[in-house]
Amino acid sequence: MINFDNVTKAYPSQSRPALENVTISVDKGEFVFLVGPSGSGKSTFLRLVLKEERPTDGHIRVSGRDLARLSNWRVPMLRRRIGCVFQDFRLLPSKNVYQNVAFALEVIGKPRRFIRKVVPEVIDLVGLEGKHDRLPDELSGGEQQRVAMARAFVNRPMILLADEPTGNIDPATSIGIMKVLDRINRTGTTVVMATHDAAIVDSMRKRVIELEYGKVVRDQSRGVYGQAY
């Protein structure tokens, strides 16, 4: 589903590349944790998958497509098949839960009938039934992240990228978030989650890829956060 072949990404202002000779292959339906300290290249990895950045060297394939050959006007089509969740939720403060989720479908021109049917289903899936009319301000951090996940998942993407989704949330609430991600993963969606949260990684027992200074230092199925020797 996601294939990095010897990918290097160097930003012009920095002497050390953000990613260096990274080769990673993520299969369809996998759940992968991307771990490593700040500045290890986790976010760069996610941005490269979205084609928000171009690699300096190497090839990236997402669902069989070579991103280097994907023309600019086709990039939106790629992004429609990838959902994104962030540490800071990125909800629209003037729109309520329903409108925030529906926004993702409206801006890609889906018919209203389809939106009316699908949005409530996804809001139920993330566990926010009965809270359609709440504004983001009126929700807890965990609930806001659920809205963000509903928005990321509402178009049924093949891949869900999560950049430290539990970074602003307390551990107890994080468990709920992880359950939703697991539920999304069970529908066949590939999930890649960048995180610092050792407890979560340890408890999930999924594949762990560890980055350090832009290099893959560990790739382990059913791994834990810390070094396992």
Partner: protein, 303 residues
Amino acid sequence: MRAQFVLQEIWIGLRRNLTMTVALVVVVAISLSLLGTGLLFVKQVDATRSYWQGKVEISIYLCTAESVSVQCKQNGPATAVQRQAIDAQLTSMPQVASVVYQSQAQAFQQFKQEFSNNPSFVSTVSQGDIPDSFQVKLKNPQADYGPVATAVTGKSGVDSVIDDRSILAKFYKLLGGARNAVVIVALILLIAATLLVANTIRLSAFNRRRETGIMRLVGASNFYIQLPFLLEGIIAGLIGWLISVGLLIAVKSLWLDTLQQYFTFNVILSAGDLVEVVVLAMCVGVLLCGATSFLTLRRYLRV
């Protein structure tokens, strides 16, 4: 394409940016009005010029008892013989198209008719004050004035030779100057309007960077992301244009048309001319706002 959604986004954009939008509308309205006024002026001058084109002549005024010039005082009023001599000379010249003699009575009648809307002025003039004259039409007014004028100037019985064009030229110069001033101010304002459009759209894009960020993330096409901004600029331009239409109608009916009374030209622009100018102003307004929005967006909403 969801029209309702796009309209809603435009409305949000215009409302959030209200002060800038109002400023934009006002500047567009004023600059388009001035541009339109300049164009109306051009049309007025052209219409007046073509009206007069067929009528421009050389007037050769003859000496009368009232004439004050030195040569008339020495020789007295023109006699019938002198008149015939002048007539014969003019008719024989190859450059002359036609010669018409206008007696003092005819001249006074024409004068009364031309200034019929100003009776107090007419009452100060009596028959005999206006000299009789030859109205000469030339085949080629540009080149032939010189030779014809020199041929008759100084002949006995001739008071003065006046090129009608030189009188009109002064008037055209006046109109032309006013027109140029209006067009220059309009152009400067159009530049200001362009900058304002760019700024408004930039502000609007900044205000909605969350929305556009999410739109990009979920895979909205560039067209869909940019359309609300583009339409925002165009709608502001159209509102400005509508206001300018009102102002232009006022300029034409209250000013240009009343100006006619004082000049007794009777060349009033038709409604068609006004429509032409108004449509042109719309094209300029929409094109300016649309193109500026588009170019600004290319710089500030890059994928």
